[in-house]
Amino acid sequence: MGGEPRIGVYICHCGSNIAGTVDVEEVTEFARGLDAVVVARNYVFMCSDQGQEIIKSDIRDFGLNRVVVAACSPTVHELTFRRVLEEAGVNPYLFEMANIREHCSWVTEDRQMATEKAKALVSAAVKRVYYHQPLETRKVPLNPNTLVIGGGIAGIQAALEIANSGHKVYLVERSPSIGGHMIQLDKTFPTLDCSACILTPKMSDVGSHPYIELLTYSEVEQVSGYIGNFKVKISEKARYVDADKCNGCGVCQEKCPWKVDSEFEAGMGKRKVIYTPFPQAVPNIPVIDREHCVYFLKGTCRACEEFCEAKAIDFEQKDETIEVEVGSIILATGYDNFDPSVITQYGYGEFDNVITGLQFERLCNATGPTGGDIVLKDGSTPQSVAIVHCVGSRDKNYHEYCSRVCCMYALKYAHLIKEKTNADIYQYYIDMRCFGKGYEEFYERLSEEGVNFIRGKVGEVTDQALSEEEKGKLVVVAEDTLLGSIIRVPVDMVILCVAMEPQPDVEAIARLFNISRSADGFFLEKHPKLDPVATTTDGVFVAGCCQGPKDIPDTVAQASAAAARVLALISKGEVEIEATTAVIDERICSGCQLCPAICAYHAITFDKGKGVCQVNEALCKGCGACVSSCPSEAITGKHFTTEQIVAEIEGILI
C-alpha cells in the first residue's frame, strides 16, 4: 500500500434515487479534477455485481490504492465496498463513503443545490481517504452460551431453539414461573386451540432441558462486555423455599391462611401469600411473597413451615447475585397492558362489569376464578356484552400505534361468549384488521355466528338511563358511523380491548443493554424490514412484543429468527472486532487518569509501573470520548485521526 495515494471515485445513481436529483455526470467530472484522483466514474448501481467489478478492475488496471464511493449511507453498504477492496487486495480501511442519498438527494428537490452538495461531500471524502491508513481487524472467540431474558412464549421459543441444537442457554424470568402473558390466555385465535394446552409442553421442556438453566424470580442487574464476551450479573430473589427439597406437593399453599389479589388472575381472583402463580407453573416451586407474609410483617404464623413435610421452607434464605458469561443475548421482555382507567368516560374502575380483555381471558378460562363461567360481578350470566376495540390504541392521546391483536381477540371473545352464554354481542370497531393466515375467514365465521358489528369508537359507557330499557344497565354510546346516527346499546358487560404497551421499566432495560427505543417506546430493531431481530448493539437481539405489538405466530417466528441469528454466531465461533480503536502514545501520556474515568466501556486501565494509561482493544468501541478528553493529546482514534478529520473539513469547504 506504499507509494503516493492513487484514488478512484465512483458515483452511484441508485437508479433514480440519486441521479433523479443530482447531476451525476457533473459530480464525476468534478471528481476527476481533484488531487490524487486517477479515475472517476458513475454507474447505475455501484452495489451490484457489475458495479463492484468496475472497482475491482480499476484497482487492477490503474493501480488504485484508495477508493471513494459516493452513494447511500455507510450503514447500508460500507461493508460491501470494504469487502470489494479486500477481494482486490487493498486494505479495506483505505476506503471512504460519501453519503449523497440520505444526506443529499433525498432531502431536497433542488437539482443545482443537490449537485453542489454532492460535490462537497465527494471532495471531503477524497481529501479524507488520502490520509487513511491500512488497519487490521481482529478476531476474538465467541462464547457459545446465550442469555435469554423473559420467559414468555418469545423467550421460551428462542431458548428451546438454541438449546435443542446443543448449546447452553440461561433463561431469566422475573416472575416465579415462566409462561408470560400467553399462559394467562384462554383460547388462541383463529384456531381456538387452548393456550395452556399448546404452551405447557414447551414450558416443561424448558424446565427439564439439559441445556437450559432456568433462573426464575430473577432479574438482570448489570451487563458488561461486548458481542461474543458479555458478562452478566443476575440477582435471584429469595423464594424462602429450598428448591432442592421442595417436591411441589402444594400443601403449603393450602395451609397458608393469608390471601391477596393474584397478579396472574389480573384482579379477578386471589392467591395465597406462599404461592405458585398457577397450577402448571414451571418450576413448580412456590415463593413466599415477602411483602404480604405475616411472618415477615409481624414475626408470627409460619404455618407453611409447620405443614411442609419436605422441610423446604427456609425463612433465612437471602437474595443472591450470580454472574454468567455469554456470547449473545436475546431480549424477550414482552409487553404490559394499558390501564384504561385514565379514559374516565369508559368507567373502568367505576363500574363493576367494565373489564379488560385480560380479565375476560381469566374469566373465561377453565382454570380461572370462576372455573370458566362467564359471569357478572353478582354471579349472574350476561344477556348482552359490548366489546370495545382500540382502547388506548390508534389514539394520539395514549398510543398512536395499532396493537395488531385486538380485532382478532375481540372476535374470539365474541365466539366464546356466544358459545357459553348465547348473549347478544356488540363489537365497536373503527376498522377490522384481520390480516393473518385464516383471520379473515374467522371474521366471516363470526359474522355467521350472528355478532353485531357497529362501526364507531365508543364515546362513553354510562349508567345514566334515558329509558326504562336502559335502567340498571351499562349504556354504551357511540356514533354508528355507517348509519350516521348516535346509537345507545344497553348491555350487562363491557370488555375493553386495551392497547399493548411497553413494560413500565422498558427505559431501564434499554439502558442496561445499551439499545435504542422507537418513538412508541418499544425496543428499536436494527432495520425495520431487513433486520427486525438485531439491535444497534452487536450481539443483542430482540424477540416478541418487547419490539412492538404482535400476535403469537409472529412472536414465535421472530423468536426463532433471533435464535437462528445466535446460532449463526455460535457456528462461526468468532467475531470480528472493528479496527477503529483508540491508541495511547505512551511517550506523551502524563498518567493523569482522566480517560479511564470517561470510558463507558471500561476499556482503559492505568499501568502503575509505567505511569501511563493503556487501552484494551478488545473492549474499546472506538467512540472517541477519551480522544477528545485527553489534555495532552496523547490519544489517537484510529481511522479518526486529527489529520483525517481536518482534511475532511477542508474538503467540504470547497
Binding site: 394520539k396 373503527i430 365508543v458 364515546g459 354510546v477 356514533e479
Partner: protein
C-alpha cells in the same frame, strides 16, 4: 340524492381559513359521540369532517353554527383534529367570503360589538354603572391588579352580582385594584369562534392598547372566555401581561390568609366546570378548593364533571343565538344538579350563569335550586 363529486375549491377555502387539520380525521365518530348536541338532537360532527375533506360542506345549513366549542370532541379525538378550528374555518368562510347567510341573532350581536364594543348594544359610558355605588377606582400604574369583569356582568343586571361580589371580596382582602371603566371592550373570544376574525383582531388590538396605556401587568378576570383569549391568543398579537382567573386568585387570597371566613354557608353545592376553564385551560381544582374552604358548605359532584363536564351551551357564539327550549343543555344540567340533591349550582363563568339562570326560570325550579358564581358564595361567608 344525486351522485356527489368532490369540490376542490371548497377544500381550498377551508384550508385557507385554517381548517386543514381535518385531513387527519379517520372517521371513528368519537366527536359525534362526545358532542353534547347528540343528547338533545342529531349533530353528526364526523360527517361534517368528511364533507370538509371532500369540499361537500352545506354552507347554507344550520349545522356549522351549532358547535358550542366545548372542546369535548377535541380532547378525545384520537387523531388530534382541532375540530373547533375546523368549525371556525367554516364560519369564517361564510362571514368573510359571504358565501351564505350568518344567523340573524348572531349577526346583530356581532354588529353591536363592532359598533360600540359590547354584545348588548349598550353605550360604552354605561359600562361601569354596576359599580357606581361601590367606590371603585380606575386602574393606574400603582394598582396591584386590574379587574376585568367581562361585558355580561358589567351590562346584564341579572349577573351584576358576580362583579359586585368580586369587588367586595377584593376590598375585604385589602387588594389594591382598579377597573378600566368605559375604556374596556369585549375580549372577542366568542367573536373569533363565530368566524369574524377581522373584528376579533380589532378588539384584541384595542384591549392590548388599553392595557398598555393603563400599565396593566396582572389582569384578573371573571370570565373563562376572557381568560382563554387573554392567555392563549393575545400574546401572539403583542399582549404582554399575565392573566389570572378569579377562582385562582381567590384560592391564593385564601391560602395567603388575606380572607377570613366569618359565617357558615350551610348549603349543598355542586360545581359545574365551565368548558373554557376546564377542558380549554385545565383549571379544575382551584374552584373546588375555594368551595371546600367555605365553612359549612358541602360539595357534591355532578354526573358529568371535570374533563367530562356537560357544556351549558353558551360557547362559540351560541350564547347570542336562539336555542330551542327542548334542546338546551343547561336544562339537562339543572336536572342533573337536582339529581345529586344540590340546592346550589355553582360555577365560574358568566355565560354558564346566564344559561343556568334562564333554565331555572323556564323549568320553574327556582324554589329548589339557586345558581351562583363561586365569588357570591365566598362573599356570603365573609
Amino acid at each position: 340524492m344525486p351522485p356527489l363529486t368532490p369540490f376542490k375549491e371548497a377544500v381550498d377555502i377551508i384550508k385557507e381559513e385554517g381548517g386543514e387539520i381535518l385531513k387527519l380525521c379517520y372517521q371513528c365518530g368519537t366527536c359525534t359521540a362526545a358532542c353534547p348536541w347528540n343528547k338533545v338532537r342529531s349533530f353528526i360532527v364526523r360527517r361534517i369532517m368528511h364533507q370538509g375533506q371532500l369540499g361537500l360542506i352545506d354552507f347554507e345549513g344550520e349545522d356549522i353554527w351549532l358547535c358550542a366549542t366545548c372542546n369535548n370532541c377535541v380532547k378525545r379525538c384520537p387523531r388530534g383534529v382541532e375540530i373547533i378550528d375546523v368549525m371556525r374555518a367554516l364560519r369564517r368562510a361564510v362571514t368573510e367570503l359571504g358565501i351564505a347567510k350568518v344567523p340573524d341573532s348572531l349577526r346583530i350581536t356581532v354588529k353591536n360589538i363592532s359598533a360600540i364594543g359590547n354584545p348588548l348594544g349598550e353605550p360604552a359610558e354605561n359600562r361601569a354603572n354596576w359599580a357606581k355605588d361601590l367606590d371603585v377606582k380606575l386602574h393606574t400604574q400603582e394598582s396591584e391588579i386590574l379587574y376585568f369583569p367581562c361585558c355580561i356582568p358589567e351590562y346584564d343586571p341579572g349577573v351584576h352580582e358576580v362583579a359586585r361580589a368580586t369587588i367586595n371580596i377584593l376590598k375585604k382582602a385589602k387588594v389594591d385594584f382598579g377597573i378600566l371603566g368605559s375604556k374596556a371592550k369585549c375580549c372577542g373570544e366568542s367573536v373569533r369562534k363565530a368566524g369574524d376574525e377581522n373584528l376579533f383582531q380589532q378588539l384584541a388590538q384595542n384591549n392590548i392598547g388599553t392595557f398598555e396605556e393603563t400599565k396593566a401587568k396582572k389582569v384578573v378576570v371573571s370570565s373563562p372566555h376572557c381568560y382563554h383569549t387573554f392567555k392563549n391568543e393575545y400574546p401572539e398579537l403583542g399582549g404582554k401581561f399575565t392573566v389570572v382567573h378569579f377562582s385562582q386568585y381567590l384560592l391564593d387570597l385564601i391560602k395567603q390568609g388575606r380572607l377570613n371566613f366569618a359565617k357558615q354557608v350551610n348549603k349543598k353545592v355542586t360545581y359545574h366546570d365551565p368548558c373554557y376553564l376546564g377542558r380549554h385551560n385545565d383549571i379544575y381544582d382551584e374552584p373546588r378548593e375555594v368551595l371546600k374552604s367555605i365553612p359549612g358548605l358541602e360539595l357534591v359532584e355532578l354526573p358529568y364533571y371535570r374533563e367530562n363536564s356537560l357544556c351549558c351551551g353558551g360557547g362559540g357564539g351560541r350564547i347570542w343565538m336562539e336555542t330551542k327550549r327542548e334542546e338546551r343543555f343547561s336544562d339537562m344540567r339543572i336536572e342533573q344538579a337536582l339529581s345529586v340533591g344540590a340546592n346550589v349550582l355553582a360555577t365560574a363563568c358568566p355565560y354558564c350563569l346566564l344559561n343556568f339562570a334562564d333554565s331555572v326560570l323556564t323549568l320553574d325550579k327556582s324554589a329548589l335550586i339557586e345558581v351562583k358564581d363561586i365569588s357570591e358564595l365566598v362573599q356570603e361567608a365573609l
